[in-house]
């Protein structure tokens, strides 16, 4: 396990910076700068800024990727005129939304109307502080990082409901209600599927889970858990076929009907941030994270940033699967969605937990190999 984490890099950066500055100024003021607490504080800030920049950039590229991919599924080109191949399109969208006036309906709840989207975006961003991207890019040892990520991930329905309720629109309200019902229904199978992974990996730490997949990735032996996880993740991300809360055809724009300008941009960003988090979680839990199979030549990972590169490749491929589903499947109905959630997904998830338990008992699977003993 590499010792250089993202936080330690930030801390070192801040340490170097402040000590150099302190040495430059000299005297008592300079010594004040060489304070350890200050270094820690600045280090956290640098860490946050790095995370923010990386996640935002990734999100915007993700939107571009989806638009282009969806375009080809639909036999058209997608955004192509703003920037090379439309790469700058989403920046233009973001800047435009930033400049647009934000209007609040007169009858809307003042606090909730602004609090909802902001909290939605902020909680979605918070998850990125927990997810390890590669050996270098992680926030240090976090024994319960998976649990923490999922807890933050499940904050969303609350904020969606707050913003939907406070915009004082019937469509928004219905969208909010659907969103709450749907996310609660799919929270359970999601967690159960995660339990299967945790049983096999023997840890709640995402980093450990990735290292547990050295011998074989979990998608093979835990295929049932993967299916449950992908379906539940689709519902949590509110994408077709489970995009009922913002079902265009009947609910206009769902719970963000009354939001325009930057608040709408918050929603869009948060949606895609969650989609990114979903893809990343699938890569981490089932597809071996930043590692490659051992039978591949080692030169593929022998260069700097190779971990991040392969991780992003996997993430974008997983997201491509979501785009593919979006391009080819219709939307389901609320009651059907809930019925599938409670009647099909939870039994399947329980089954996957039993399978995982059996796997841990048996230890070895033909084709895939053996599980290392937990905690080894």
């Amino acid at each position: 396990m590499s010792s250089a984490t993202l936080y330690s890099v930030s801390y070192d950066l801040s340490h170097t910076l402040l000590f150099a500055l302190g040495g430059l100024i000299g005297g008592p003021l300079g010594r004040l700068l060489e304070n350890g607490d200050l270094v820690t504080g600045i280090g956290v800030l640098v860490f946050a800024a790095l995370l923010l920049a990386a996640s935002m950039l990734n999100t915007i590229v993700l939107i571009w990727y989806e638009r282009k991919l969806l375009g080809r599924f639909m036999d058209r080109r997608g955004a192509m005129h703003v920037g090379y191949a439309g790469l700058l399109q989403n920046f233009a969208d973001g800047l435009k939304l930033f400049r647009k006036h934000t209007t609040r309906p007169r009858e809307a709840d003042e606090v909730g109307f602004y609090f909802g989207p902001t909290a939605y975006l902020v909680t979605s961003l918070m998850i990125f502080g927990i997810l390890p991207i590669s050996t270098g890019w992680n926030s240090g040892p976090m024994p319960l990082s998976l649990l923490l990520a999922l807890v933050i991930f499940s904050f969303a329905p609350l904020f969606i409901f707050v913003s939907a309720w406070s915009s004082n629109n019937k469509y928004s309200l219905m969208g909010g209600l659907r969103s709450a019902a749907q996310m609660i229904a799919y929270e359970v199978p999601l967690l159960l599927a995660v339990v299967a992974v945790v049983v096999v990996a023997g840890s709640f730490s995402l980093t450990t889970i990735v290292y547990e997949q050295q011998n074989y990735w979990f998608w093979g032996p835990l295929i049932v858990a993967l299916i449950v996880f992908v379906a539940a993740m689709l519902a949590e991300m509110e994408r077709i076929p489970f995009d009922l809360p913002e079902a265009e055809a009947e609910l206009v724009e769902g719970w963000n009907t009354e939001y325009g300008g930057m608040l709408f941009a918050f929603f869009m960003l948060a949606d895609y941030l969650r989609a990114l988090v979903g893809s990343i979680l699938i890569v981490l839990l089932f597809l071996g994270g930043w590692t490659l199979p051992t039978w591949l030549p080692g030169s593929l990972t022998a260069w700097p940033l190779a971990g991040i590169f392969w991780f992003m490749v996997k993430t974008y491929l997983v997201f491509g699967l979501f785009v593919w589903i979006r391009a080819s499947l219709p939307r389901v109905r609320t009651d059907q969605l809930l019925r599938v959630g409670w009647n099909r997904m939870i039994p399947l998830a329980l089954l996957s937990v039993f399978l995982a338990a059996a796997l841990v008992t048996v230890r070895c699977v033909p084709v895939f190999g053996c599980v290392p003993s937990p905690g080894a």
Binding site: D75, I240, A247, A249, R326, S328, P330, R331, R333
Partner: protein
């Protein structure tokens, strides 16, 4: 949750046009509906009274903008009966060609809009793409994509350009392949079947009672198709089957429309073969001059009266893509029609909305209304 009224429209993604569906809901269940029409009422029947017979054709294209040629055909048949004009046979075949291509175009447009209501994204684009090919054919002989102004009292404006039938056959081949793809995307999908089966049921007797016609009626097992039951133009000489289904639900309407498109392809192949073999005039000879060409020279006022042109009443019934459309044209001897009255199939289909919407979920409104295939232009006129 207590009951509340919500307005779906006039600006709502579900409506596909300018109308308002007021829905009383309890939770997600529909308790009552009240369609509110008239947002697109342009007074076409009134304007027609101020226009010459041929000039009304420009309004017909805009009356139903997804089936312009079918409406031209409808009006022209009534006007010809009122004015005692007989078109030549080739013109009748050309009109059937227009009608059937228009059915393809309209149903493809319906397909695109319907699947979009269900949240299917790509087939919307596929439907629009394939509809554009049909519009290309229209453009190559009428000169416009949507507002054709092709038919005239006594025939049609012009003959087909050379090479038309060959490219038309290519388009038909292309479309026949696509229908399978459409079925795979819709019927092949479990989610689609779960969404659409048993939805928006309107049984046969109810449908007849409420004046519902077209694919909606045929999907309820009633085999009424004016092309078969009351053959107009040259439909009596062509070989085709009436598409129908028994389900009376959204899936059944989908099946009927898909089958109608296949039957249209079958009809079109026969029509194209006939047109290849039988050249001839496309407009009646010895027409009164103001009918043969769209002129309105000065001094026309009272012209017909002076010449004792016979009065008449024209009536025509055409199986339009949406259903049974009727026209009633009164010729009182003036240069303008005295009264023009149209019957829009969607008008009646929509007026029965309460029978097939109440009791379902809010989320079911888009697919059900999508399966009705609303064209507001012809409802409001």
């Amino acid at each position: 949750m207590s009951e509340m009224w919500i307005n779906m429209g006039p600006q709502h993604p579900m409506t596909h046009g300018l109308w308002n569906l007021r829905v009383r809901i309890e939770g997600e269940l529909i308790r009552d509906v009240d369609p509110e029409m008239g947002y697109l009422h342009r007074g076409i029947e009134k304007i027609s009274e101020d226009r010459h017979y041929n000039e009304v054709i420009t309004l017909m294209d805009r009356c139903c903008y997804v089936a312009g040629l079918a409406w031209e055909h409808l009006y022209i048949r009534a006007a010809e009966q009122a004015l005692h004009v007989d078109p030549p046979e080739r013109a009748e075949y050309l009109r059937v060609l227009c009608d059937e291509f228009q059915r393809l175009g309209s149903h493809l447009m319906w397909y695109a809009a319907f699947v979009q209501d269900l949240g299917l994204m790509s087939p919307f684009l596929y439907g629009m793409r394939d509809r554009d090919l049909v519009l290309d054919l229209f453009q190559s002989y009428t000169g416009a994509r949507m507002t054709y102004e092709y038919m005239r009292v006594g025939g049609v404006r012009n003959d087909l350009p050379p090479g038309f039938t060959a490219s038309a056959r290519k388009v038909l081949d292309w479309l026949s392949d696509r229908f399978r793809e459409y079925d795979q995307l819709c019927l092949g999908s479990t989610i689609f079947r779960k969404r659409c089966d048993g939805l928006g049921v309107l049984k046969g007797p109810d449908a007849v009672h409420h004046g519902v016609t077209g694919p909606m009626l045929r999907s309820a097992g009633v085999k009424r198709d004016l092309r078969k039951d009351r053959p107009y133009a040259v439909y009596g000489q062509l070989d085709f089957d009436v598409a129908f289904a028994d389900g009376a639900d959204v899936t059944a309407r989908y099946l009927v429309r898909m089958e109608e498109m296949r039957q249209s392809v079958r009809l079109l192949r026969q029509v194209l073969d006939w047109l290849d073999r039988h050249p001839g005039p496309v407009i009646a000879e010895h027409l009164p001059r103001w009918l043969g060409a769209p002129y309105a020279p000065i001094g026309l006022e009272g012209y017909l009266l002076k010449r004792n042109y016979p009065k008449g009443v024209g009536f025509s019934a055409v199986e339009e893509p949406h259903g049974e459309a009727l026209a009633y044209v009164v010729n009182e001897g003036g240069e303008h029609p005295y009264r023009v009255k149209f019957r829009s199939p969607v008008f009646a289909n929509l007026s029965a909305a309460r029978t097939y919407l109440v009791g379902y979920h809010v989320a079911d409104i888009p697919p059900i209304m999508g399966s009705v295939d609303v064209c507001v232009g012809e409802v409001d006129r």
